[in-house]
């Protein structure tokens, strides 16, 4: 049985359906992420799990028990707020001790537990400070330590790293992964940042317009997006739409608008004539000066229209004769040269038949 079960949960605000019949099962000790653009319903869902909001339909179960009758203060879950929500009039110790005092922990045990929690979040020695004397990352750690000190069964995190700068965010991501492993508590993490979701999670639910578009492991979400929305939302991708013109031996040929016939390996049984999309990651596309001879790969000619030198990689946008754009990524690993091609250079882009991923429409 899953630890946390979300069963057909719906939440409406007037005419607007924020969460639309969502069902998710989250296991014990899992790092689970709700990912989606703002307004997709992920935060509303998280607040319903915490108990700050109640579903209009459906149930939320923890260990098989319906939580509907339990107010937030009586749910064995803790939330880490985006704004940290540290109590400004209490020291770090006071903040971390607060949930222990609320749970009637004997006074004698509190200091040791507070110290242990501060150690967990690497803040030993900061106990006497006030929140305004801490940096953003330290505040975040206090918030996490405060939430973990009572050993809840689920930790809910609402975009906890959104307010941090890029470098610190990366450090905190690694810390979060380690911390989650260490404490073995289920994390339900809300974010709109797809790289964060891919880096942290065991499983991700990609949400859009109140619904779960896809629920999978990060590599599946990235490599095999089920819908155009997921493909487009996660990372950079080329989406080539067209109609199926041929199907043979697990390879479908699609007549892509403005590009011509493109073959893709898929198990899809879509009949000839129906529409589909090939999702193609830029890093799987090769870009060369001349066409490789007698290769079975897809290929087409074009001209470099734009390029972005990013240091580790260079992103090329190649314009094809049919007026479509193909984005390709080249790692700058082999040579000392900053880039291989210039804007206006004629190039040949090619990719293996199994590099693309077919999405039915």
């Amino acid at each position: 049985m899953a630890l946390l079960e979300i069963q057909n949960v719906t939440r409406r605000f007037g005419d607007f359906t924020a969460v639309d019949n969502v069902s998710i099962e989250i296991d014990a000790a899992e790092f689970f992420t709700l990912l989606g653009p703002s307004g997709c319903g992920k935060t509303t869902l998280l607040r319903m799990i915490a108990g700050f909001d109640l579903p209009d339909g459906g149930r939320i179960l923890l260990n098989g028990e319906d939580l509907a009758e339990r107010p937030p203060e009586r749910r064995p879950m803790r939330m880490v707020f985006q704004s940290y929500a540290l109590f400004p009039h209490m020291t770090v110790e006071g903040n971390v001790a607060f949930p222990l005092q609320m749970s009637k922990t004997p006074g004698g045990e509190i200091p040791a537990k507070v110290q242990a929690a501060l150690e967990d979040v690497r803040l030993t020695g900061f106990g006497k400070r006030y929140p305004h004397e801490l940096s953003g990352g330290q505040k975040q750690r206090v918030a996490i330590g405060r939430a973990l000190v009572t050993h809840p069964s689920v930790l809910l995190l609402d975009e906890p790293l959104a307010a941090l700068d890029a470098k610190l965010r990366e450090e905190m991501q690694i810390e979060l992964i380690n911390l989650q492993k260490e404490v073995g508590i289920t994390f339900v993490y809300v974010t709109h940042d797809q790289t964060e979701a891919l880096a942290l999670s065991h499983r991700i639910a990609v949400m859009n317009k109140g619904r779960v578009e896809q629920l999978d492991e990060p590599s599946k979400i990235y490599g095999f997006p089920k819908t155009r929305f997921v493909a487009d939302f996660i990372g950079h991708i080329n989406l080539l739409s067209g109609s199926v013109s041929q199907r043979r031996d697990g390879v479908v040929t699609i007549d892509v608008d403005g590009l011509g016939a493109v073959r893709v390996a898929t198990g899809s049984q879509l009949p000839v004539g129906s529409r589909g999309t090939i999702a193609l990651r830029p890093e799987k596309i090769r870009i060369e000066a001349n066409a490789p001879s007698d290769s079975p790969d897809n290929h087409c000619r074009g001209t470099v229209a734009e390029l972005l030198y990013m240091g580790d990689v260079t992103v090329y946008k190649v314009a094809t004769p049919g007026d479509s754009r193909i984005e390709a990524l080249l790692a700058n690993s082999q040579s000392g040269r900053a880039k291989f091609f210039e804007v206006g250079d004629p190039v040949e882009v090619s990719w293996a038949v199994d590099a693309g991923h077919f999405i039915e429409e």
Partner: protein
Amino acid sequence: MPARTASRLGRWLVSGPPMLYLILFFAVPSLIMVLASFRTPGEFGGLAPLVEEGKLDLNLDSYARFFSESVYAQIFLKSLWYALLTTLFCLVLAYPLASLIARSSKRYRDLLLLLVILPFWSNFLIRVYAWMIILGPNAALAKTVNGVLAWFGHDPVPLLFSAFAVLVCLVYVHLPFMVLPLYANLEKHDQALLDAAQDLGANRWQRFWRITFPLSLPGVYAGAALVFIPAFGIFAIPDILGGPSDSLIGNVIKQQFLETRDWPFGSVLSIVLTVTALALAGLAAWIARHNLGTPSSSKEARA
């Protein structure tokens, strides 16, 4: 003109007029009063000449009188007590009101605030006189109260010209001064803190006493100071609504200046009143700083 000189001049032009005003109408009169407290009362009121027969006539007689005649200390303590009670009642009444206003939707908030300050639109004395009518022996309130008392076999009590009337009116007059700073503070509270407290296991009562109340203390202190200081020195309300035994220190001071015409002693009483109020305000600030978090944490709560 160099930029630095220009900016200094600008600063003086901005802060100069209010400073001048305060020096002329607050600092100088206060100093005159301090000087007057060391002088001898004139034969027919006012002050005796400062220099008499070539000698400077300054003495501590009026101070000696204040500390030797216990009746003044008693009135002082009574005034202090009334002011403290007024502050306490105002706080208890204003807190729920201020938090209701702070939590109501923007549409009603302005209307409710308007209602709080509405009494200021009519004159202070008129409002005090209105209480004479409300509390008068023939008004519905007194009749109801005495009716109930009679039912219990109790003799009727006069509501007007009593300590009760003075206190009720003191609270009524000062209530907005408590509501407004409290509202200004409570309105800025971050809902996320209460959500966090609730999430961490705090019930409604604990959320109030552990989060809302401590964070509202700057507002409480500001309101308490705005109520306590004027209530301490008030004379009009006991004059109009109090009985003969309800005189407060403000009445005695007024009496010294206008009736007894003993200016030095009136000055002494005024100085003691001011110093006591300042000392209490300082004490409150000191307690706030040392018992309830650092000054900057309360600053953060105010911001």
